[in-house]
């Protein structure tokens, strides 16, 4: 059970790595802790929708490249399937 939760977090980080490199782990951890109020290990599929909304907002603050943000969110959306 625990393995599954960690894997979901790792998958989010893996995708994020293509966009934020070494800052990916910290970025995702912060979004989960600050906006969902939980630990990264306890991330579940049902949390993903809310997490993606927060990540989209955060990414919009980091770049003006909306295509890049959309692609990132689309990549993350695949995890919700």
């Amino acid at each position: 059970m625990i393995k599954q939760k960690i894997t979901l977090f790792s998958e989010v980080v893996d995708i994020t790595y293509d966009y934020l490199g070494p800052a990916a782990d910290r970025f995702v951890t912060r979004q989960i802790r600050n906006h969902l109020g939980k630990s990264p290990e306890s991330l579940r599929k049902k949390d993903l929708k809310a997490l993606l909304s927060w990540i989209k907002i955060a990414m919009s603050l980091l770049t003006d490249d909306s295509k890049l943000v959309d692609k990132y969110i689309a990549d993350l959306n695949e995890l919700t399937q």
């Binding site: 490199g21 070494p22 800052a23 910290r26 970025f27 980091l62």
Partner: protein, 300 residues
């Protein structure tokens, strides 16, 4: 006391000491005659040096502080450990000029008062001017090495060969300049040739190798590290770091062969000094701007 306060207080103390020393200590004998100027004219010229110096040192302290802030944010992570080393290295480079300028100013006055002590004082100045940036370059190099390991990249064989060729040429010219300038060994270094080559010249060449290697590794990291947005954010920081390393090397090169400048006019010397100061100031500003971009990733 916070890190910001510590860095800024150090900057203010050094700047005030430098201003007081420059404006109140008597000029080196023969300076007024050499440049055909009055004491008032010299003090006004001193002011035109003190103000840009204060600004460039401030840019250095500010760039260092911003980098310090960023490295604090990520220090527990793999990239954070490498950035921390680079930060301390840049800190040493940022404070190298103010510290050596202030110490040299007062010790030069001591030489005027105690001509007999000139030899040990000049030797001390030469080693101090070497040791601070050498430690800085070693730390920066350790940091950039860590970053390339993180990006799983190594300098290419071609890259290493180009670096070695550059350092060899620069080093050979440097040895030639140091050892052939008339009276240089006695008037500046106060050391025997073999001792000078082993304990001063060799460390300088080693330091420049580290500098060139660091610039190359920063370039590799900036180009190859994963993360489209992260990589973009590194652009300014990489440019600033690379530029500081190159300009620091240029300053060291020029100051250690400064006797060659005796043939230049006052305006020629000022032009070189101001040119380097402007590039150095811009480099520290680039660091501060680059750090802002990276910090934003850690804060949203």
């Amino acid at each position: 006391m916070s890190n910001k306060a510590r860095i800024l207080y150090s900057y203010f103390i050094l700047t005030i000491l430098y201003a007081i020393g420059t404006l109140t200590l008597p000029p080196v004998k023969g300076t007024l005659q050499k440049y055909h100027i009055s004491l008032l004219h010299l003090r006004l010229l001193d002011l035109t040096i003190i103000i840009p110096f204060a600004l460039i040192w401030y840019c250095g302290a500010f760039g260092f502080y911003k980098l310090f802030q960023y490295s604090d944010l990520i220090e527990k992570n793999k990239d954070g450990k490498s950035i921390k080393k680079i930060t301390y290295g840049i800190g040493l480079l940022a404070f190298w000029l103010p510290v050596t300028s202030v110490i040299n100013l007062f010790t030069n006055y001591a030489i005027q008062r105690l001509p007999g002590a000139s030899s040990p004082i000049l030797i001390f100045q030469n080693y101090l001017t070497l040791i601070i940036p050498l430690l800085g370059f070693i730390l920066v190099s350790l940091g950039t090495r860590g970053l390339t390991e993180l990006a799983k990249q190594r300098p290419t064989v071609l890259g290493i060969n180009i670096m070695v060729i550059i350092v060899t040429i620069v080093g050979v010219i440097y040895v030639h300049l140091v050892s052939t300038t008339n009276n240089r060994l006695n008037s500046v270094y106060h050391l025997s040739v073999s001792y000078l080559l082993i304990t001063l010249v060799a460390p300088y060449i080693y330091m420049w190798f580290l500098g060139i290697l660091s610039v190359y590794e920063i370039y590799i990291y900036r180009l190859k590290v994963k993360g489209v947005i992260y990589r973009k954010s590194w652009r300014l920081l990489a440019a600033g770091l690379g530029s500081i390393i190159v300009v620091s090397m240029l300053i060291q090169y020029l100051t250690t062969i400064s006797e060659k400048f005796d043939k230049l006019s006052l305006s020629g010397i000022l032009l070189i000094v101001y040119g380097l100061l402007v590039v150095l100031a811009v480099s520290y500003v680039l660091i501060a701007l680059g750090v802002n971009n990276l910090k934003r990733i850690e804060e949203v």
